[in-house]
């Protein structure tokens, strides 16, 4: 089939060009080597809309940067993509740097970009977290931030709504001139013909050009490594914080993102392999050191993930190469579009479409037939309560929260898959919905997302494990209650039906509380015990050795006997302490509901530290899971994630899973622990490792994760007394799965949102151990939400204290 224009590459530039071409009377196809849009540089960059003060005047970089920057409000409004003009600051540290600022100011004037230089005091007033070493700064108010992959896929959706066809997994390998145009052949044998080709192949755009033109280009992959900080850090800086470019490069930036996280990076390193997106120990150390220059208080315990991206750095011209190749008619290049490529993309799109349409002699479509559709779906996290309630009553799937960290619902995930250019991978769902992008990095939601992908796309869920590729105003219960009809009053409301919540509820009943309600987000009570099918629970509490599900069932039965009401499949969105406290919750069937409670017990449990928080270098393939995720997959969903397994960390869940995976037919090669002794209990080392001859390597850590699509191996090194890897001690393991068991963190989103005082040491709420009372009157807490326990028996015991206190508070008899 012959089409008018083929765009090669579905990054932000390719999709912008395709969308602008769809405004003309042209048949347009996009060929993409990957399985999704934004699979190259567009998914991993600084997400900055540059002001344009630093590009060399007269270059394409300067021209399109400034043009593109001016277009961003309009484009993002049309495409329904978040964008914020937060402004940029370039920091000077001393006199040399201040002279450099003057140079940048002169350059800005030539480029037509408004800037001003501010002094140390003004800088400190605006950005209290900035280093006191910074002596001055260049302020560029037109700098902004945007989500690069969201911009890319909305460009693609609008292009598709206007007739553009997208072909994925279509790696162009050959191109030949035809009588009237070009014939492109793909690696899988597919062939495509078009009158004109637009080369937006990013890092590979030199290769495509060199197949047709005598004017050769050479792109070097310039790798940039980044760290991402948790939403807790939102507000650390208001502007994007650059440093004066030195001979060592542009330096490390620290910037807020439109999603409320903080991005730190990048490094700049030219690498020979255009696919090598691994992070490295040295790179991440450079990011940390560079960022600390701007932000001395950089909190490393807030790192949720690290990643790297490749910039398409063209070495012969050193500028964006845009336009028709001089010796290849109707072959148009967008080669070497590195930073400021994201900023320039809207302008390049419009300019390129005009050029191509002019060459082909076609006119614009009648505006009345151009669709504005971008397949927008509601983001429940950002919705006003009344709208959300209405949506859930219409479509209950928007009431089922799948990703707890980012509050992403099943409805959103299904919409992302059903979109015109819909998600087909875990990464596709992640980038379109943010499911799995929060602090647990997919630990809880991965099994559920693969189930949805499977049901939407008609595949078994495990197929999606082979490869992976704003702060809403806190829902204020007081304003909601006037808008919603559902309103319930209870005496004691317990959040979470795990061992802590059930023990608290039973104890509250025994202490004479009236109506006790437990709200649970999972489909059944029992919490994490349901997946802990091993024995070893209840020796203290029940004087016998039980398995997790048995221990859970005892408490479910006790709760039922006492008339405790348990509501499952319901996610609590906010707690507002007061008399009474208001608790807002959402479920597919019940929609949004507000409960007035005389007292509240927090029993949300804990979550696992994800890979991101560990800063393990290497690639980011499928096959890396936390121990709890593997436990859920194997014990609850009947899915074996792999056959040759390395376990990093010797936490109890990791040890337990070493034995379970062995039982299920996998070979567990080793358990790697960075400390000098196991963090799990000795009895688990004996009965889970020693019994099965699984080596425990103490004072070792994983220093590299290998594999592009799926894990193929890991490198393990010995560490010194400062926990730094010792060079020359590397050993290699061929494995298909890396399981992480590196600690648990209390889960306290609700606690923080409620304004309850936290304990930085335990990362749970501050409590009075005698009553388990938090800083908010009438709000108590029990179990792993307070601190991480070794033993469920003690979780039950301490939660019973919280339950008794909550009952006393509800009766007006509480004494602190």
């Amino acid at each position: 089939m012959k089409t008018d224009v083929i765009v090669v590459g579905a990054g932000v530039v390719g999709c912008a060009v395709a969308r602008e071409l769809s405004r003309y009377n042209l048949n347009v196809s996009v060929l993409e080597a990957g399985s999704d849009v934004a699979e190259g540089s567009s998914k991993a960059n600084s997400a900055i809309v540059h002001a344009g003060f630093d590009a060399k005047p007269g270059t394409n970089k300067a021209k399109f940067n400034v043009l593109g920057n001016r277009m961003f409000e309009d484009v993002c409004r049309e495409l329904k993509v978040p964008f914020r003009r937060n402004g940029s600051l370039v920091l000077a540290f001393g006199e040399d740097d201040e002279r450099a600022l003057d140079g940048l100011k002169a350059r800005a004037a030539e480029n037509g970009v408004p800037v001003e230089i501010i002094g140390r005091d003004e800088l400190r007033r605006r950005e209290p977290n900035v280093s006191p070493e910074a002596t001055a700064a260049l302020w560029a108010p037109t700098g902004g931030i945007c989500c690069p992959y969201e911009l890319t896929f909305r460009y693609a959706e609008n292009a598709a709504a206007n007739g553009v066809t997208f072909c994925f997994d279509a790696k162009v390998e050959g191109i030949a001139r035809e009588a009237d145009g070009w014939r492109l052949s793909c690696a899988d044998g597919r062939e495509f013909e078009a009158r004109a080709v637009v080369n937006c192949a990013g890092i590979h755009s030199d290769e495509l050009n060199n197949l047709v033109s005598a004017t050769k280009y050479a792109i070097e992959a310039r790798r940039g490594e980044y760290l991402m900080l948790d939403r807790d850090e939102d507000g650390a800086f208001s502007a994007t914080m650059f440093q004066v470019p030195s001979k060592m490069g542009k330096g490390i930036l620290v910037s807020p993102t439109v999603d409320g996280t903080v991005i730190v990076g990048p490094t700049a390193e030219d690498i020979p392999d255009k696919e090598d997106k691994a992070t490295t120990y040295e790179g991440l150390e450079k990011v940390k050191a560079g960022a600390r220059r701007t932000y001395p208080g950089l909190p490393l315990n807030k790192v949720i993930t690290e990643f790297s991206g490749l910039r398409a750095h063209e070495t012969t011209v050193g500028d964006f190469i845009l336009g028709e190749a001089p010796d290849a008619a109707c072959f148009f290049n967008a080669v070497g579009v590195e930073s400021p490529g994201l900023t320039s993309a809207p302008a390049i799109g419009v300019w390129m479409a005009e050029l191509v349409a002019g060459k082909l002699g076609v006119s614009r479509k009648n505006p009345s037939i151009i669709s504005a559709d971008v397949s927008y779906w509601p983001k429940t996290r950002d919705m006003a309560p009344a709208d959300l309630a209405e949506l859930v009553s219409r479509d209950p799937s928007f009431g089922r929260v799948i990703c707890r960290c980012e509050e992403v619902t099943e409805g959103e995930i299904r919409a992302a898959i059903r979109a015109r250019v819909g998600a087909r991978t875990l990464d596709g769902v992640k980038r379109r919905t943010r499911s799995g992008m929060g602090r647990c990095q997919g630990g809880f939601c991965t099994p559920r997302v693969i189930e949805i992908l499977g049901s939407e796309l008609g595949l078994p869920p495990e197929a999606f494990l082979l490869s992976r590729k704003t702060a809403p105003k806190a829902l204020s219960a007081t304003t909601i209650s006037s808008q919603l009809s559902t309103f319930n009053s209870v005496d004691v409301l317990v959040i979470g039906a795990g061992p802590a919540g059930l023990a608290a509820a039973c104890a509250a009943k025994d202490a004479g509380a009236g109506e006790v309600l437990v709200i649970e987000r999972d489909d059944a009570p029992g919490g994490i015990l349901q997946q802990c099918i091993h024995n070893g629970f209840g020796l203290h509490r029940f004087k016998e050795e039980l398995t997790g599900p048995e221990y859970a069932q005892r408490y479910v039965d006790m709760a039922n006997e006492r008339g405790v009401r348990i509501v499952c499949g319901t996610m609590v969105l906010s707690v507002e302490p007061g008399v009474p406290a208001h608790v807002t919750a959402m479920s597919p069937r019940g929609g949004l509901a507000v409960y007035a409670a005389k007292s509240v017990v927090l029993a949300m449990g804990c979550r696992e530290r994800p890979r991101g928080a560990l800063m393990t270098p290497g690639t980011r393939p499928a096959g890396v899971y936390t121990a709890g995720t593997v436990q859920r997959l194997v014990n609850m969903d009947g899915i074996m994630p792999g056959r040759r397994v390395v376990i990093l960390g010797s936490g109890d869940i990791g040890l337990i899973m070493a034995r379970r995976l062995t039982f299920s037919g996998a070979k567990v090669l080793a358990c790697i622990e960075i400390m000098k002794k196991s963090s799990g209990l000795m009895r688990n080392v004996v009965q889970c490792l020693n019994d099965y001859d699984i080596p425990l390597l103490l004072s070792h850590t994983v220093t590299d994760v290998e594999g592009r699509e799926h894990v193929t191996g890991v490198k393990v090194s010995k560490v010194d007394d400062d926990l730094k890897p010792i060079p020359g001690t590397e050993t290699h393991f061929d494995c298909d799965t890396l399981v992480l068991s590196c600690g648990l963190i209390p889960e306290n989103e609700l606690t923080r949102k409620a304004g309850i005082e936290m304990d930085p040491k335990t990362r749970g709420p501050k409590v009075d151990p005698k009553t388990m009372a938090t800083s908010a009157p009438g709000v108590f807490a029990g179990g792993n939400v307070v601190r991480v326990y070794d033993l469920v028996d003690w979780v039950s015991r301490d939660s019973e204290i919280a339950g008794r206190s909550a009952a006393a508070y509800a009766k007006g008899e509480f004494q602190s």
């Binding site: 099918i533 024995n535 398995t547 599900p549 048995e550 014990n635 009895r683 070794d790």
Partner: protein
Amino acid sequence: MKMICINCPKGCELDVEQVGDEVRVTGHTCPRGEVYGRAELVNPTRMVTGLVRVAGMRKPLPVKTRTAIPKGKIDTTLFAMHQATVQLPVRIGDVIIPDVAGTGVDVVATANL
């Protein structure tokens, strides 16, 4: 022989010695530790927990040996669990595999499904 007691999270370090016909256990801090130490020398046993296929469902049923079985029988027990398929409904304590691997111990359900 030095060993670590697996009865509870304390993980006491036991010293177990065969002196003639008598097995002497030291280092334990409770009676269970003494029993464990003796058994570990003479006939080490373990509780085995596992999963059994449920007819018509992806989700497996969690099961356990009702009491500890000899360590040497773990493989045969796991194989028997792997071979079994159960029909719902199942209650906690229902016998899924009687006298598994000739141990005289039943494999029982540990969840209500």
